[in-house]
Symmetry: C2
Subunit: 329 residues, 2 copies
DNA sequence: TTCCATTCATGATACGTTTCATGAATTTTC
DNA sequence: GAAAATTCATGAAACGTATCATGAATGGAA
């Protein structure tokens, strides 16, 4: 069932302008064409309201100017922010974005990658949760926050530096003793460095610390237990808290306040990501801000780069600290 | 530059299986094919790792199984939620989604719609901010919350009913006097009914009310003035507040608390949309919840429906109330 | 004036798919 | 058992584009 609406084609333009098909093509692609012919063709294009057909072009050139962006969802504001900036970066280069939501489902991640083989996309940017994902050959592939192998470029924040910065800030704000809480996972191999950086800084700075990880599958209530077990006479045994994610921090702060603990008076909290609600100017919690725009920009320029093989396999981008009211500065 | 990676084509499969090209096609499209031939072809497909080429298919069929979703951004959690559910609904029907962010830019809205004419998409779902947008003929087009004409289906929440419900709830929770604050705009023609429903209910229920609109271009500080001018001895002149959007409610609540007004003790606040932060279970503010999933589902089934002309031109879906802690229940 | 180099429009071809008309082989019907 | 009906594989054509080899026309150099 060929489309009922038959828009004009290059052949129509050629006929209208009284030129050959190839000439029309060269006008459209901005190649050298004689003045008079170019005018005739452009006039015909205008008269007919011609628009190029992308299926035909894609079939011929083997390229769709489309990049797939594979990401769990858009509900998490950090992901939403990433989608936003990736889209901008792609558009700046005349590319379209095909968004694929995995919902953390490994088989869906694999399916989407198959898609690439159907020539649907020219490249893939992925934030995946399947550590044993098989990366397709022949299609440019770039990951965010996941290191697979040295042949697959990985773009990430400076997670180690971010962890370090968090500890340093807590110390600076007068904390005597601190803790780190995160959701552990076998797949998030780069973000785990947040812990490494934090621990490393605590050691260097002589700051007593504790680390708690919610392992894969453990319920959120484990965190309640952890907090409860660190209470004495209505006070926590630490006065600084670094949390692996703003999202988690948000929930934990609500928990703390429910326990009668004041933030930031009793305990100062720093999250990670740099989330602002509703595109607000203010941060939701004090946080280590990921340079989302730079990450997106780097992903796009990398995946579109002609010489993917000469690109570094791990690119770390600098983070910054921002106060969101859950710390003293 | 035809793609360097030359994947196997249907012709390769045909040769490998020793059958005709047409036969391979019919196997792939699940049409009637003799048992033996089918086996031979399937075996060949497996052996060669054949995947269909979507450009070729699109060129031939004139259909891409892709729907464009035009929306300002994904930063606003309500939009993010919409994107999420539209994607799910599309995928359920074997369609892909092409996301287009307009950033509220009218010319970009128009550009994206042009795209449709390049046969790139089979239909368009749009949440636009250009009231004089020209809707393309020949491409199925569905809007969210914007009524253009009776020939363009519009899917929306029951905005009027939502406004009504908000007033009713405030009354029920003991409010003596209420106010409504919203961002006015010439384009959001359906959501304006939130005000109508609210006002209508206040009149019917005998609830004193006031309405404040932030006109296009006015700064947020106008709202501060409004609130300040309704303060007397540190108390507001109303004890119930309905706000056109959760996003706006979020900012206003922060403002109120900054002014020393307790929420919900001094003033109860209800927003609109049904936003939950970070995919949390709890609502950010008490709110009128839009049935986002149903909206998405309806948009998709409508835009894909073969007989678009026989579809109602305005579909309103029921809303519900949910407590987010900024009201007494 | 002749010849060569350059410019540039032409027409044919291929990209990978679906579909249509054709005809061979098989089954059904009387 | 012959004719008609059915089943089903075949090969060719078409979708709209970009590119390649071809050749005509122009301009410059000898």
């Amino acid at each position: 069932m060929p489309k009922e609406k038959n828009s004009p084609t290059m052949a129509d333009v050629a006929r209208e302008a009284g030129v050959a098909l190839g000439t029309v093509s060269r006008v459209i692609n901005g190649q050298q064409v004689g003045e008079e012919f170019r005018n005739r063709v452009e006039e015909a294009i205008r008269r007919l309201g011609y628009q190029y057909n992308s299926s035909g072009r894609a079939l011929r050139t083997g390229s769709t100017n489309t990049i797939a962006f594979i990401i769990p969802n858009t509900i998490n504001p950090f992901f939403a922010l990433l989608v936003h900036h990736v889209n901008i970066a792609l558009e700046k280069r005349g590319c379209k974005m095909l968004l694929c939501f995995t919902e953390y489902d490994k088989s869906r991640e694999a399916e989407f990658i198959q898609m690439a083989r159907q020539n649907l996309v020219d490249g893939i940017i992925a934030l995946t949760y399947n550590p044993s994902l098989s990366i397709p050959e022949g299609t440019p592939f770039v990951t965010i926050d996941r290191f697979f192998s040295s042949s697959v470029p990985c773009i990430a924040s400076d997670n180690f530096g971010g962890g370090w910065l968090a500890a340093q800030k807590l110390k600076e704000f007068g904390c005597q003793s601190v803790a780190f809480i995160r959701v552990a996972s076998t797949v998030t191999n780069e973000p785990v460095k947040r812990k490494d950086g934090f621990v490393s800084a605590c050691v260097d700075l002589g700051l007593p610390f504790e680390v708690m990880a919610l392992e894969d599958g453990q319920p959120f209530s484990e965190i309640e237990h952890f907090l409860a077990s660190h209470m004495q006479n209505g006070k926590l045994s630490f006065d600084g808290l670094f949390i692996g994610t703003d999202s988690l921090a948000w929930r934990i702060i609500r928990l703390l306040r429910g326990m009668g603990i004041r933030v930031p008076e009793d305990v100062q909290v720093i999250g990670f990501d740099g989330i602002r609600m509703f595109g607000d100017m203010e941060y939701t919690v004090s946080t280590i801000v990921q340079p989302v725009q730079e990450i997106a920009e780097t992903c796009v320029s990398t995946v579109l780069s002609k010489h993917l093989s000469s690109v570094p396999s791990l690119i770390c981008l600098p983070v910054t600290y921002a106060c969101g009211g859950t710390t003293k500065a």
